[in-house]
């Protein structure tokens, strides 16, 4: 049995009776057992996965109705609530928190008979882009264990690439799905804001974050998006997608499409290997019949500062609830006065979360809000106008997902500005609410480079069609696990 298959191929194999769900899930758990000591993609595993697989196999044997996922083993970033399981956000603060309810995306996956194989590692509270800020230790890049896998959904990307699951769900606030997808060479998606319910996603920066899938193929991504997207009365920011089928007509191609190359995202800060890969992607799109032209978005130069100002402000508000009275860890009340108790409780946040909380308290505070927070909102507003204007001229925007190649663990962890700039190409989609995808494209010195495409809001289907067209031109060597 080969674990290195797509989700759609897995479904076909199960339907054809080539193997049972139990066999595939067991083999997947063996793979986790074999590799995860090194890779550390998972924080916890579902100890009922085999029982769930057996039940689904019985359904098939009895010709009973079975959901579209046919027991597909899917991993979930550990900031999405799965009822009755630990949801730690990779934080000491929530080390023993067991989610008392199900996130909408989980209810939807379970209703289609997906098996949640486990919860994946991440930067604490999704604040980071290397997974090094996990309180439980970093994940490692499966292409080279000395390198970071990206983040914050690093565990999800590692698990998908290392065949420890078929697909995964992450969350993308400033690139947290697309960045690790690029560093590990999987497909990663940030849907249009509102396309996927955030109910049950532990909040970081509500106005810009989205849950998104990570898969090995664009078709798998469309398949998962079909299941998890759509309006949800538990999240009033969701939009009605009229049950759009993202998988149908995925091979429509890009003939006649206009693609804008974002000039600022391949500027001085980008590695030459990344610029070269981007130029190659442009050539491939031209060969597929698309027309490519350079587009300038002035506000991109300020987007990282705006993003961190806005996200830290929202995080400062969202994480205020971890005062150990309503949310937190086991810690007795006796011997503390109110303020000192909360200060002591907040010590369970790691250093990066603590720093961002302080920033989030500072930038909207009296005397500084005009200089930072309100200006960041104005940049967001002008950037959105610029991107909307660009989409009057072109159908899609293209840029490298990350301006630099994957780097070694520990290399940038002490330099907050170097870390900020890794987000340079991804935050635009979050600030403007647009859908964006990272597609595995090339390897440089044995490490992956991803290409990013953006589309107009609610044009997710056209975006996936273009991503599929590019994917079919790419043939990367097999990873040695």
């Amino acid at each position: 049995m080969n674990l290195a298959i797509s989700g759609l191929k897995y479904i076909e194999e199960i339907k054809n009776g080539n193997y049972t769900i139990e066999e595939f899930v067991s083999k997947t758990l063996e793979q986790i057992q074999k590799l995860d000591g090194k890779l550390h993609a998972f924080l916890s595993l579902n100890d009922k996965a085999i029982d769930q697989a057996k039940k689904l196999d019985k359904k098939i044997q009895k010709n009973e109705k079975i959901g579209a996922c046919f027991g597909m083993p899917i991993s979930i970033k550990d900031n999405i609530c799965v009822k009755g399981t630990k949801t730690t956000c990779a934080s000491k603060m929530l080390e023993d928190f067991v989610a008392p309810y199900e996130a909408t995306v989980i209810s939807k996956l379970k209703s289609e008979d997906a098996i949640i194989i486990g919860k994946t590692n991440m930067d604490e509270f999704a604040m980071g882009l290397t997974t090094e800020f996990s309180a439980f230790g970093p994940s490692r890049n499966p292409w080279n264990h000395d390198y970071v896998p990206g983040g914050s959904s690093g565990g999800s990307a590692v698990a998908v690439r290392a065949l420890e699951c078929v697909a995964s769900l992450g969350s993308d606030t400033g690139g947290s799905v697309r960045n690790p997808a690029s560093f590990c060479s999987v497909v990663g998606y940030k849907p249009t804001y509102g396309l996927v319910s955030r109910y049950g996603l532990i909040s970081y920066a509500n106005s810009i974050e989205q849950i998104g899938p990570l898969t090995r193929t664009v078709e798998d991504l469309a398949f998962i998006l079909n299941i998890i997207s759509g309006i949800d009365d538990k999240d009033n920011t969701t939009v009605d997608n009229k049950n759009e089928d993202y998988l149908s007509e995925i091979d429509a191609g890009v003939e006649g499409k206009k693609i804008g190359i974002i000039k600022e995202m391949i500027g001085d800060g980008a590695d030459k290997e990344v610029v070269s890969a981007t130029n190659n992607a442009v050539k491939k799109f031209e060969n597929l019949g698309a027309k490519c032209e350079e587009i300038s978005l002035d506000m991109v130069d300020y987007s990282v500062a705006a993003y961190y100002t806005i996200s830290a402000t929202e995080a400062g508000s969202n994480l205020a609830r971890y005062d150990n009275l309503r949310y937190g860890f086991d810690f007795p009340l006796e011997g503390f006065e109110f303020n000192s108790y909360i200060s002591k409780a907040r010590k369970n946040f790691g250093p990066e979360v603590t720093r961002r909380l302080i920033v989030g308290g500072f930038v909207p505070s009296a005397g500084f809000a005009g200089k930072y927070f309100l200006k960041a909102l104005k940049v967001k507003s002008k950037l959105t106008a610029e991107v909307n204007e660009a989409f009057k001229k072109v159908d899609l925007l293209l840029a490298p997902t990350v301006p630099i190649c994957p780097f070694k663990l520990g290399e940038k962890i002490d330099d907050p500005i170097a870390l900020f700039l890794i987000d340079f190409n991804t935050v635009t989609a979050n600030l403007t609410g647009k859908p964006a995808i990272s597609i595995p494209f090339e390897l440089s010195d044995g490490l992956p480079i991803g290409i990013q495409l953006l589309a107009k809001s609610m044009h997710d289907k056209a975006l996936l069609q273009a991503a599929y067209a590019l994917q079919n031109t790419v043939h990367l060597p097999e990873i040695q696990l």
Binding site: D301, Y302, Y308, T309, K347, K375, K378
Partner: protein
Amino acid sequence: MILKEKIEEVAKLMRIELDDHVVYLDRVQKMIEYFDILDEADVESEKLSVQELPIKNLREDKHIPYEERIIDTLKNYKGNYIRAPKMI
């Protein structure tokens, strides 16, 4: 130059102890100084866009029964109340 005292004041209001100045104060200062780039953005005339949510998207404001008592999952509670440390 951002005054470190201002950052310390905000941290205190947020009930965050800054016991390691290099790990917290210096890096927070670096982060905030990077945001000064926003001063160069030509956005003075820009109007703030407010995200409007259509009222029809809001669910009815009614009690939804839940099978479990969520409060029971808390360590510090009494009856239907959350216990907190003394204020004085």
